[in-house]
């Protein structure tokens, strides 16, 4: 049966296939430099700032010697009532903003999660705030909140001397609302992804099971979208915990300290007072807090995922 067309395959040509890069050279060429780069760009500053947090040193006087002070900075910060005040303010801000973003974002996602005309356009438009720079949003809303020429007061029928950003009691709400405006779309996007990932046949099954809309929402929609909502919460909590540019451009932390969240305080300490050592300690305390919060969330997330 052999027809003799296999001239190309003979015993003398084994193993010609292995051309291209071997795993080893890929490692040497790409992975090692990447790790080295990461080490330089991320790990070194991390260690350096840890070192600084145990020293008294000012970056505006770089030639002065760094004096070792042990955990003095940490002790000072944690014993300072002002720190805890800022902490509670930050916590309030995070709580209000995240809850608000969740309610608004998830609500809008529910409205959008159906067949409708121009859904794509509407979704894109709704996502615009998220794509802007926080600093720009801050400046932009600073104008909107202005009682003289902003649009907020006329819309809600408030007097033209109803100040928001200059009022210690309202400034936080103004900032929170702005943040919700900016980031609710993010929650919406994740919620939409979560909602559209719920198989349609589950809703059909629920319909067959004669479940009401509310019953279906509570027992199907909510539990199934929870993992993504949790991811949204993690992101927003961590982001809001670090929130800086938007608030800074809107209020600079004022009036007084009524919107002075951790990051603004840290900024002032590090780049206005140049108290580099202490601000490194402050940054480390924040880092530990952020890690702590995210660990709690991730643990919870894993628990949900296990089901």
């Amino acid at each position: 049966m052999a027809v003799g067309v296999h001239k190309e395959a003979t015993n003398s040509q084994p193993g010609l296939a292995r051309t291209g890069l071997s795993d080893l050279s890929i490692r040497n060429l790409f992975i090692i430099p990447t790790i080295a780069f990461l080490a330089c760009m991320n790990i070194f500053p991390l260690i350096w700032s840890l070192f600084l947090s145990f020293h008294e040193w000012r970056a505006n006087l770089p030639d002065e010697k760094a004096v070792y002070v042990g955990i003095q900075h940490y002790r000072d910060i944690l014993n300072d009532p002002a720190f805890w005040q800022t902490f509670s303010l930050t916590a309030q801000y995070v709580l209000y903003a995240v809850v608000g973003e969740l309610v608004v974002g998830f609500g809008v996602a529910l409205l959008l999660n159906r067949e409708m005309k121009a859904k794509g356009v509407i979704t894109t438009l709704l996502l615009l705030p998220m794509m802007m720079s926080p600093a720009v949003v801050g400046l932009f809303w600073k104008l909107l909140w202005n009682p003289g020429w902003g649009i907020v007061n006329p819309i809600f029928g408030l007097a033209n001397d109803y100040a928001w950003l200059s009022d210690a009691n309202r400034a936080l709400w103004a900032v929170v609302i702005t943040d919700i405006w900016m980031w609710a779309p993010f929650v919406m996007l994740l919620s939409l992804a979560g909602l559209s990932a719920i198989p349609k046949h589950l809703y059909e099954a629920a319909e067959i099971d004669r479940a009401s809309w509310w019953f279906t929402f509570r027992n199907i929609t909510l539990p199934l979208v929870t993992p993504l909502l949790l991811i949204a919460i993690i992101f927003r909590t961590m982001e809001n915990f670090k929130q800086f540019d938007m608030i800074f451009t809107m209020t600079g932390g004022g009036p007084g300290t009524s919107t002075e969240v951790h990051s603004i305080r840290l900024y002032r300490m590090a780049f206005q007072s140049w108290d580099t050592g202490k601000s490194s300690a402050f940054a480390y305390i924040l880092l530990i807090m952020v890690i702590g919060i995210s660990m709690i969330y991730i643990k919870y997330l894993n628990k949900i995922k296990e089901r």
Binding site: V3, V5, A9, A17
Partner: protein, 361 residues
Amino acid sequence: MASITFENLTKKYDDLTAVNDLNLSVNDGEFYVMLGPTGAGKTTSLRCLSGLDKDYQGSVYIGNSNVTDWSPAHRDVAMVFQQYSLYPHLTVRENLEFPLKSKIRMVPQDEIERRVNYAAATLKIVDLLDRKTDKLSGGEMQRVSIGRAIVRKPKVFLMDEPLSSLDAKLREALRIELKRLQKELGATLIYVTHDQVEAMSMADRVGIIKEGQLIQSDTPHKVYNEPKNTFVAGFVGSPKINFFDGIVENGRLTIKGSPHQFQLESEILEKIRGITGELIIGVRPEDIFLTHEAQEGACEAKVYVIEHMGMENLISFHIDPYHFKAATDSAFEVNANDKIYFRFAQEKLHFFDKNSEENLV
């Protein structure tokens, strides 16, 4: 054309052993089917043979050449997959010509035409030659895929579930064609499937694979009638073989846990060479005889379900603690919960060891 030998082939993916010490020889010009459940390692063996999977232990021979270290291109095997993998932007003719146009083959144009025409005629796709492949039906696409394998005149054809995405009727038709084609080309063909009907109907020999190991390699007839163990017996045949625990004592077979007893015929006793005690007994549905009336040597049972299959009726009945399924003539009518009497075709009983589940005969 060439024979194929796997020698101690082992393939691991991380901590999963896909193929475990496989030894197997396929003769020149043989239609060999590897049959087994999903994940048994059939496809992996095929991929090792083609050279698509590397880093395996053991050796692979095609003809007399040890091709273990060869690249896929040099092994000169043709593969047909479940997914047709045709080039959608090319016509059928261009798809068929494609493997011949490669630089290393250097096939002259008139030879290309001759081979394409031959393949098209064999597969009855001559009138499709100038169509774009995305306009074809599933069956037509699979024919073109096979055609693309044929034109190369490879030493060996490898087919990985090529029919499984087609509907039943088409599958039956292509099954016959494929077998005819293989005989016509005299090609060595290794065919992988999880469908025992395909395996039985096409194969010269069937290799039954389980968890990366070859369990039995035999003609379809032998595999069906002399299964090596309960796995093979259970895997081959539809409706499935009935298993029950039986006790052989004093020339009698007792269905364990029930009062039912059968006197075993002397030839059978001879066949099992005096083995006694508890065994696993297998009996195929067509080897159970049912009657409405009580008969010598038959036991009573209650009908569970009747299935009218047209050609035959399948009757499930229950004798505590087992369900049996018997195939009867389509004229045999009963209703659920009716009383019936059954006996076994004793020469067709299969006896397996209780522990090793190996066939004792």
